[in-house]
Each structure stands twice: as C-alpha cells, then as structure tokens.
Amino acid sequence: MNTSAIKPKASASDLQSAVEDFEALSVEAATVVPQASAWQRVKANTGVRIAGIVMIFLLSIALLAPWLGTVDPSLFDPASRDLLPMQKGEITTLDGEWLPHQFYMGSDSFGRDIYSRVIYGTRVSLIVGAATALVALAFGIVLGLVAGFVRPLDGVLMRIMDGLMAIPAILIAIALVAMWRGSLLTVIIAIAIPEIPRVTRLVRSLVLTIREEPYVEAAISLGTPTWLVMLRHILPNCVAPLVVQGTFICAAGILTEAILSFLGVGLPPDIPTWGNVMAEGRAQFNQYPHNIFFPGIFLAVTVLAINILGDGLRDTLDPKMAKRG
C-alpha cells in the first residue's frame, strides 16, 4: 500500500460543507418504511378472514338460538322419536301443549329436536372454549411471570408443571370432573388445568428472552420497579404469542368438552352439548347416523375455523413462529 502519499486534504471547509449537506444526502431519513399496523396485517390475511367469517357466523347462531326456529332443547315427545332429517312431527311443551314442529336434523330416541340441541350446543361449546382459554391464560401468565422473574421459585414451579404435563390431559379432566361432579364451571376448570403448564412454559420462555432485551435493561436503569417492568415492558410484548396460544387452547377446550360429554363424564346429559348429542346417538348409529353426523359437522367446522384463525394470527402477529413460506 502506498503510504507516502498522504491525502492532499481537500480543504477542510470543503469537507465540512459536505458533512453539512447531510440532510440533503441522508440515506437514513429516506429509509424509514411506514409499516402496516398489526391490525392491518391481520385483516389482510386470508386465513384470518375466512375463519373470522365462520366464527362470526357461529357466534351469531349461538346468540340468536331462540329465534332460529328452535324449541327448548330439553323438550321431547314420545310420538316424534327417531325422526329423519326434515321430517315433520310434533313436540310437547312444558305446559303440556302439543306443537307441530319441523325436525330439520331429525330427532333422537327420546323425541328431542336435534337441530335445537345442536344450535343451543353451539352456545355451550363456545363458552367452554373461550372460558377455558381465558382461565388457562390467566393462571399461565401469572405462573409464567413468577417463574421467569423469581428465579428461586423457577425450579420448583416448572417441575410441578412438568409433572402435570406428564399426565394425559383427558385423564386429569376426567378425574377432576369425577371429584367435583359435572357442571359448566367444573368442566371449564377441569379442561383448563391441564392447559396451564403449556401457557406457563410459553410465558416463562418469553419472559426469559424479553428480560434480556436492552429496553428492559434500560427500564431497570431508569429505576422502574420490578412489578412495573413486568406489566409495562414484558407482558405487552408477550401478547402476540399469547393470543395465538389462546386460540389453540380454545379449539382444544371445545374438543375436550365434546370428548368428556361423549364419554358421559362431562356436562350432565340434560345440558345440550355436541358431545352429549353424539353420546346419545351412539347406540343407534347404524340406523340413525344423523344423530352423530350433525353435531360432528359443527364440532369439526368450529375447531377447524379456530385453528385456521390461530395459524393466521401466528403468521401475522408472531413472525418468528410463522411457517417459512
């Protein structure tokens, strides 16, 4: 390299003015790309759109159940037993009156209207799904924050969670329902408990990553108390993966409830749920497959829609976990 020829300094003022031209030449100022907000990205995702429409449809069915040509799902009429879909029959109201009724999805062996039971069952399933997700997230977030932040408790807490995860979820749920007797509340709690370790693990891992971020260290340097660091800096940055996880728990919760009811250890048979309807139709499956077919379709479509919604949310909110495309 030529060491002798030191740069004939372009006059100092020349270079100085070049530096001051910065604003005009600045690459930086030109390169800030306005990003689409999370909500805009979510809205643009095809999966989210389709699944969202399905979910809105199911939600309105659940809310509008009484006005959709249904009768009280617990009503039955011995004269209308085992009707095929679209057959006409009659149904006895609680006052002992007979009403003519069209059985869109046929009737079961007690003469109950499967259509009404399936529509009302949508309510139960959606409530169970949403409530399970909320309960599991609430406990999981608290436990995960504690495990991620209070290091001495981490080991103990996570070993308990490992223990819980070692037992099949459905067995824990069956045992808990058996202990407490089946009601909406107990079933929700029984389904949520096995999901808690998963959320705890997720939150803990997020906390452990995010607490190393410089902005968290900056907050500590700014004298922010630990609990505020958790609430203000760490938790809001966990939201995206938690929303995604929540949708999957919701879908799993709906499935588990159906399984429990089908096995006869879920909600009492008088509460119309898809699982209960299917359980009652099981014995007559060969002659009257519609008893299982219609609630099964609803169950499958609901779970599929929620899972697609979750996938879409993951792709848009949580790019790190997104599938490679």
């Binding site: 740069k7 600045s26 900056a218 700014l222 108390p225 940055n237």
Partner: protein, 548 residues
Amino acid sequence: MAAENVNGATRTHPPVLEVRGLKIGLPANADRATAVRDVNFKVGAGEILCLVGESGSGKSVIAQSVMGLLPNALPVQKGQILLQGEDITHAPLSRLRELRATRMSMIFQEPMTALNPVMTCGDQIDEVLREHSPMSAEQRREKVLSIINEVLLPDPERMVASYPHQLSGGQRQRIMIAMALVLDPVLLIADEPTTALDVTTQAQILKLVLDLQAGHGTGVLFITHDFGVVAEIAQRVAVLRLGDMVEIGDKEQVLRRPQHAYTRMLMGSVPTLRTEERPQSASNAAVVLKVDSLAKTYKDKSWFGKTRIVHAAKEVNLEIRRGQTLGIVGESGSGKSTVARCIVRLVDPTSGSIKLGSDEIATIKTRALRPLRQRMQIIFQDPYRSLNPRMNVGQAMMEGPMNYGLSRDAARKKALELLGLVRMDASAMDRYPHQFSGGQRQRICIARALMMEPELLVADEAVSALDVSVQAQVLKLFEEIRERLQIAMLFITHDLRVASQVCDLLAVMSKGEVVEYGPAHQIFTNPQHEYTQALFAAAPGKHYSFGA
C-alpha cells in the same frame, strides 16, 4: 451517472464480470421502487472492485444477483450480467449450479451460519470437489489439505476433522475462503467478509484475500461499508447510494479526490484517528466514578463434571472526572461490556469497589440502589432493541423521571426540551419506535438517558450499529452533550477511530484485564503495551485520513 472510468493498467485484462444497466425491483410495499438501477461496472481478472455503501444501498443485492441468489421478490428487471462474456442474467438454475464454485464463488459475513454445523470442515470442502470435479477420493483429500495449507490454517489434518463450532471466527472465515477458492474460480464475491470479525483478525483475513487473489489472478467483488477496509484492499471503488451508483473509479482517485457530494459526505463522516490532546480535559474536576479492582467471574456450574470459571473482568481500576470521557477499547470478549454493565449494576460485580461520587454501589442492595440509579444511565448498542416497541417515545422518555416522582406535565415539558437538544421534532412524542430510523432511535435513547440528569453516562458501543454518516452525527451529539452538561462519560467501543474522537482517557482491555490506561492522546501517539500496538497496527485504512 456511472460512467466507467477508463484509465490505464486495469483495462488491459478482459473483464471476468461485467454488469450492464442492471435494474432490480423491490416488492410493492418497499420504501423505493428499485433495489438498484442502472448499475454498470466491470471486474477484470486479478482486480479487486469494492462496492461501498451504507445499509440499504443495494450492495448485497448486486452480489446476490451475480450469484443467482436473489429471492423471487427482487426480480432483475433490466440489464445484463456477463461472466467471462457469458450472459448469466437469466441463466437456468442448472447452468448457475455448474458455474458456482467452479467459475464464481462467494463468501459471507457470518462464517458460522454459512458453514454446515453438522459436517466437518474437510467434508464441506470435499463436497465442493465431489460435485464439481472428477477427482478420486485420494486426489480430493490431497487437494483439501493443500487448500487448507494455502489459507494458512495451522495443523491441516486437525482442521479437516474439525466441526465449525470448534474453530474461531477467523479460522471459520478461512475455511469459507478455502471452500470458495478450491476450484480456482475466476470471480470471488466477498460480502462483508470481515464485518463480524475483530480488527486484528480482520487484518489477517484481508491480507489473506489479497495474497490469494494475487496468486490466483482472481477477480474480486468486495462488498463493505467500511472505508478503512476499502483503503486496505481495493484497486477500484464503486460507491452506492440508495441503489444508484454515484461514483466509480480507481481507489486513489475516489479516496483522495472524491467527485460526488455523497462520497465526500461519507468520507467526511469517517472519524479520523486523532492523536492531539483534546482541549478541555478537566483534570481537577470532581471525581464522578472511581472503580477499584473490580472483578466479575462467571461460574458455569453443571450437575456433573467440573465447574468452569470465566474471568470476564479482573483487577479493573478506572477513574472519571466531571466533564471527562473515558474510553474502553478492546476486541470482543475483552470484558469491556461486562465492566460497563457492572458499573450501572445491570450485573452484580463479584468483587471490588465502584464509587459513584461518594456512594459505594458495587455491594449495595437493590432497594438502596434505586435512588442512585438516576445518577447513572446507559445507552446500548442496538437502537432497534433499546426501545419498547409497545410504548411511544413520550411514554418511554417520561417513564424515568416519573419513577422518581416528577409530575406528568413537568416530565412532558422536560421531554420536549430534550428532544430539541437531540435535534428531534416535538411530534416524535406521540409516535412509536418503529416509525424511526436507527440513528433517530439512538437519539431518542440518548434523550431518554438525559431525562434523568445523570452524572455518569455509559455508552456501550452506542454508535457501532449505525451507518458511518449517522455515526458522525451521533458522535457530534455526544460531544455537544458533554460540553453543555459537563457529564462524565464512559464510552465503550471496539473502534479506535471513534475512541480517538471522543475520549480524554483510554483504557485498553484484553481478556478481562486493562492492559494499558492513560490519557488518550498519549496512548494513541505512543502505545506501550504490545496488545495495544497490535490493535493499532491492525486498524484498517490507517494510511488514509478521511474525516474533516
């Protein structure tokens, strides 16, 4: 714009690579329409052309387009890429596969991720030969050993059997170079090959590339953002700005008589290695920070096996007075960041004393530490991770003072004032970090730290992640702040040029120890310790003075 400068010797070779009127598109939602446009250049046999530019200038895109590695979102819209006269712009994949490694090859910035972690280095070089040459196993093995010898790796037999993680960064990059050159390609593309390396390793790798290139007569397209590296390695230089090639010419011409205003601005922004004494070294002002035999030891305890002890820092003694800047320089793993983090108590020191004014903070309990925290603030390297993405700038800036009881209104007023000080618009208050560029974010971080009116400001590689022109501005800002507020500053950096610009005192660290400590100008003019001397000797482009 990008007229080829025909002058003399370099023109006698036929070009191994010729790029004509290249235009590469960007996806619709990008900040501009094209990644690069109307780019023309030639690389002759045995010639090294440096592509220089800041981030987002499109320099890597050009390299990828030559290798045929462009993602589908970046289509070549116009122009031609000729490799030894053959148009490969839209060559089918099968043809590109034949050409890669045999006629053109590429080395990357991060050798750890460019190498396959589950294959030995020998197998990875062997794979190239197996795919592209008819050699027998015996010949291949000989060839692998000879190329490893050629890239000056010690103990070739062991290297062949090593996995990438068992080698150092510099050794890995040598393996990459061996892999790239084993079939003697006519063109080597090097995409920031030394950016991830320490300065002394960088010097060795640059020398290796120069030697090998001269020996094999390879044409090299060398991509870098560092004018120091350009000065060391280039024969010709092309400068890119936002996808436009604004200047191309011989090194001497571009570095000494830059034509385009952008090139002048870039070169003016490169900090000069300053060796004269800085005027305002206040040697009798109050001592703000005194560090005595500070040590930090990490114990790696495992259930089985023995405990590993790492001395991240030991026997560190420092002192900073009001209005003074102390620089800590050293390579990665030297412990300089550990010292900074101990001082602001983001990690607890193992032993020693840290005195902030008259308060001992090395051993103080967390609760008692809180009131002291506002007196020392830290600014981090990565401006993209230093701000909570869910909080707007106003909230981020007001958080600190409000933690210590300042009212919202007063905090807001102060935040507006400080935004003015760091040359940001008041409208920034209600915007979120992702709406700002890296340099702007770093300004916000500085303003946030100053909100606390600290006595001590610790800057941990605070300008290292910034483009050179932005770096110059932020350095100027630091200087201004120090003069106006008379803060004591601890400035951690790996860049000697930067250190020479801002530091009154200098501590050189190596392997956890301070090997040299004293007034910066003395160390820069007359380094005593051999490590310091080696560090200075390795600094790229020291024969050129860039800055104003």
